[in-house]
């Protein structure tokens, strides 16, 4: 039995809509899953801070999240200070948020509370719109 072109078109549209809904649901699920449980590693939600002139300090609100396979006592450090930013007890993941001010790249790393080894690291890069070589000191403020 032959179906009418209108019905065929309707079937194709319904099919296409179902597929789009399925793909979108899948994407949303994977996104929410990623947000809920980060990948193994140390993630910075912003890995770059931009200031106007080289040498200026850069202000950035940093969110760090980490996840590791084995639960233990872990501490998060930054290259700005020797003391830990935050420690977690018997945990395999954590989140940390703070404003940082720096004119140099900042490295974040995770260590066991009583260990020396950096288990995972990530770097926040400080960049400038006007680099040192873009301006001679004899120039007037050009910007």
């Amino acid at each position: 039995m032959k179906t009418s072109p209108l019905k065929q078109w309707k079937n194709i549209s319904v099919n296409l809509c179902c597929q789009i809904v399925l793909v979108l649901t899948g994407m949303l699920y994977s996104l929410s899953a990623a947000a809920a449980s980060p990948e193994i590693g140390l993630t910075l939600y912003s890995n770059q801070c931009v200031a106007v002139n080289q040498g200026m300090k850069c202000f950035v609100e940093i969110q760090v999240s980490w996840k590791i396979t084995k639960p233990d006592d872990y501490c998060l450090f930054s290259s700005q200070q020797d003391s830990p930013l935050q420690c977690w007890r018997n945990s395999n993941q954590g989140k940390f948020e703070q404003e940082f001010v720096s004119d140099k790249n900042i490295t974040f790393y995770l260590k066991q509370k009583y260990g020396d080894t950096q288990l995972m690291t990530n770097e926040l890069k400080i960049v400038w719109v006007y680099k040192k070589n873009s301006r001679s000191p004899s120039s007037w403020r050009m910007f």
């Binding site: 931009v50 873009s134 001679s136 004899s138």
Partner: protein, 317 residues
């Protein structure tokens, strides 16, 4: 009385009017050619001077020049509101171009908008640098071209005047976030203006300070610009032969313009900047008192002082 008053006093280079545009291009080409000749002379002088230097001095020189070599080009698009006595101002989308490049002491600067030093194209040579001070010899546009053509009741008041490009010595001092700059330019390059002006002197003094508020960069500056009586009289004076019923004879004395600007920049990314600025210039009394300027300031969309405010997004190369 009907007619046109088209001025391009220093800073007002990109006029829509054909006359101004043509004059501006002529000036730009002439200035670029002069600058190139000037630059080539300086390069050859610099090269021959270097032959006499010791190896150690050459190494030191190379090291210091290496630090000064480089530059940038910034092109911005934004919205500008401008009011002044010279033209009908701007209220709309504008293009802003600023840049500087230095190589082996030779530099070229371009100031076209969004900067208190709105001087157009300039070429120079940075010949001495100390810890806080830098010294250059450079060209500066001391005054833009002016075109007055007014059909007065008795005759036509007509003044086509070329721009004045000068050469001078510039000293720039940096102390922390404070910058000061002094320029004295006694030599006129433009032959036509030079023939008409006996004692030419343009001098300027600028003081600027920057603050950082989070990632915002705030800059405030104030500047004084002096022009000798002969220069101002060339542009604003009216001789007995030129005088008409409404534009009587006038002799301009020397004068000082006062400019102040405040601006804010925010980095959107490594290459993009958001910028905004407000600039105000109080013109010298000898300019404001001239019969032409008294008429001009009362024309529609004009004002006695120069005010400009703008917001723009810029790409920095």
């Amino acid at each position: 009385m009907r007619g046109t008053l088209f001025f391009s006093p220093l800073r007002y280079s990109l006029h829509i009017n054909f006359f101004i545009k043509a004059n501006f291009m002529k000036t730009l080409i002439r200035q670029t050619l002069i600058g190139l000749c000037f630059g080539m002379t300086l390069v050859s002088l610099s090269a021959s001077a270097k032959n006499f230097e010791t190896e150690q001095a050459s190494e030191e020189s190379a090291e210091s020049e290496e630090n000064f070599n480089g530059g940038f080009l910034k092109i911005g698009l934004g919205y500008k509101v401008e009011e002044n006595p010279y033209n009908e101002g701007v209220n709309g989308v504008s293009l802003f171009v600023n840049g500087r490049y230095q190589w082996e002491g030779l530099f070229v600067e371009a100031f076209f908008g969004a900067n208190e030093r709105n001087e157009g194209l300039s070429i120079g040579y940075n010949f001495y640098n100390s810890e806080h001070w830098n010294f250059d010899i450079k060209t500066v546009m001391a005054h833009g071209n002016i075109y007055n053509e007014v059909y007065d009741v008795d005759k036509i008041f007509y003044q086509p005047l070329d721009s004045a490009t000068m050469i001078g010595l510039q000293a720039t001092g940096h102390y922390g976030q404070t910058t000061m700059q002094f320029l004295v330019a006694p030599y006129l390059i433009d032959a036509e203006v030079d023939d008409a002006v006996d004692n030419s002197l343009y001098a300027s003094a600028w003081l600027g300070h920057s603050w950082q508020i989070k990632n915002w960069s705030i800059h405030a500056s104030v500047g004084l610009e002096y022009r000798s009586s002969d220069i101002l009289d060339y542009y604003y004076g009216i001789s007995p032969e030129e005088a008409t019923a409404n534009f009587g004879q006038y002799q301009a004395s020397s004068g000082i313009d006062l400019t102040t600007q405040i601006s804010a920049s925010y980095p959107i990314s490594e290459d993009w900047l958001f910028e905004s600025y407000l600039r105000y210039t109080d013109l010298a009394d000898s300019i404001s008192d001239s019969p032409v300027m008294r008429v001009a300031k009362n024309e529609p969309n004009r004002a006695e002082a120069m005010t400009e405010v703008g917001v723009l997004i810029s790409y920095v190369f």
